[in-house]
Symmetry: C2
Subunit: 266 residues, 2 copies
């Protein structure tokens, strides 16, 4: 990683005292950058995300898409970003439509939180049933996970980032790292929305734990297969079962666990 | 881990399809439980946390303490919990005091989110300066981290939990695992508040990444040393510098990095 590289630019240099085998030394280290981004939707302040300062437009659009506040690029009238102040303004056509849908309960997520979220959906799930016909082989899934890991330079450098990728059966289409699990996912989703890419025949890959919120996002977006290198939670497994999403965890090396709807893995 | 063990009770059994070296088998697996907990403060609904269903009183009190909404056990008039519905009601004496302080911006944290949080504090930090005289040796810190890891049975079983512990120089006093980094910390903090234990001469240990929010919590609570097995973010390093907290990351094996206020490590 060198100056000018994206991953380098998402880090900051800090002076540290390193203790190794009880010996102290003064060293220069790099830590992952963390910045607030406040999203305004149709001139109303919606939420503030804490994120890696990269692809802020994708993050804002992906967040709004995953929250059900917009659906497609054509819904967007204008995006403007003030990077210095960490502000993004999104204006949409649907002023009386989904935009005015009240943001759900003030939910504090377990480990990848969205301040305004989905837990009302837990009470009365209205997500559509995923009946996409996409299937994939285990070997294809494992290759995609390996490919995502190879790209995880920010994590390798700082130990403080999550990866997410959107793929078809053969290739990673979009990839992001962010200090937040959710942000990394929202950025790939946002890029798809901006580029009018259909999510219904795609595979979402994440380095982080899959909690209920991520399944609900996936269900809202129509994603048929969600894959993680790490663990799912009980509620994620339950909701994947209820929404028709194929949920795969611990996809590493030559192994993976399928927690719901194994029929898509052939 | 066996039935009746706490860690066992924080998991759920699921039927999975495991693929190992391209061979499919049907197996029983355990995943970490994830449940919502809605906190009411003086009869107002405050927030919903997604958590592991354990020590809900400590979680609620720790959350309120870390948010600056109560300070000590004597502030609490009543706690009642409806475990089945995931509700906790806290009544405090200070109805006109900190309790009515408006919850801050609707912030979505990067990876351990609090829905209602601290980011106004980023704009105008009012946390007290930590001038506690506590010091510790690197070997003591590393022993504490090892001891915390030894206790991490829920993580070892499910791969889906974070640990937090509160310690003095020699011993772990309180320990928790939770699906959320923040929850695990809030639970140890809550237990200290309930038991009137002074935090100003204690060490907070976490298995997870240290983000700005955790430093702000620590500053509000007066914690002088915060230690993580993993990475801090840039903003965490900056805020630790500004609040007087000794921040240690990557404490593993025989090594640790001190990111701020190294004078406490002797």
């Amino acid at each position: 990683m060198e100056k000018g590289d994206l991953q380098y630019d998402l880090t900051a240099e800090v002076r540290i005292t390193r203790i190794r085998n009880l010996k102290k030394s003064k060293e220069i280290d790099r830590v992952v950058l963390e910045t607030p981004l406040t999203i305004f939707l149709n001139d109303h302040e919606l939420t503030t995300l804490i994120c890696s300062p990269d692809k802020l437009d994708c993050l804002a659009i992906g967040f709004l898409g995953a929250e059900g506040l917009l659906e497609k690029a054509a819904d967007i009238v204008k995006i403007s970003i003030d990077e210095g102040k960490g502000l993004v303004y999104v204006n949409t056509v649907a002023k009386d439509g989904p935009v005015h849908k009240p943001i759900a309960k003030n939910v504090s997520a377990s480990g990848g939180g969205k301040g305004s979220l989905v837990l009302n959906t837990l009470d009365s799930p209205r997500s559509k049933w995923i009946n996409a016909s996409l299937q994939a082989e285990p070997g294809e899934i494992l290759k995609l996970v390996d490919a995502m890991q190879d790209k995880a330079l920010l994590f390798k450098r700082t130990g403080g980032a999550h990866s997410a990728a959107l793929a078809d059966r053969n290739n990673i289409l979009f990839y992001n790292e962010d200090i937040g699990r959710h942000n990394a996912i929202d950025k790939v989703v946002g890029q798809c929305i901006l580029e009018n890419i259909n999510l219904e025949d795609k595979i979402l890959l994440s380095s982080g734990r899959i909690s209920a919120e991520i399944i609900l996002k996936g269900a809202r977006l129509g994603l048929p297969i969600i894959v993680s290198r790490s663990a799912p939670t009980s509620l994620a497994v339950e909701l994947a079962g209820q929404t028709g999403i194929t949920l795969i965890g611990f996809a590493r090396g030559q192994c993976l666990n399928i927690y719901a709807h194994a029929f898509r893995i052939i």
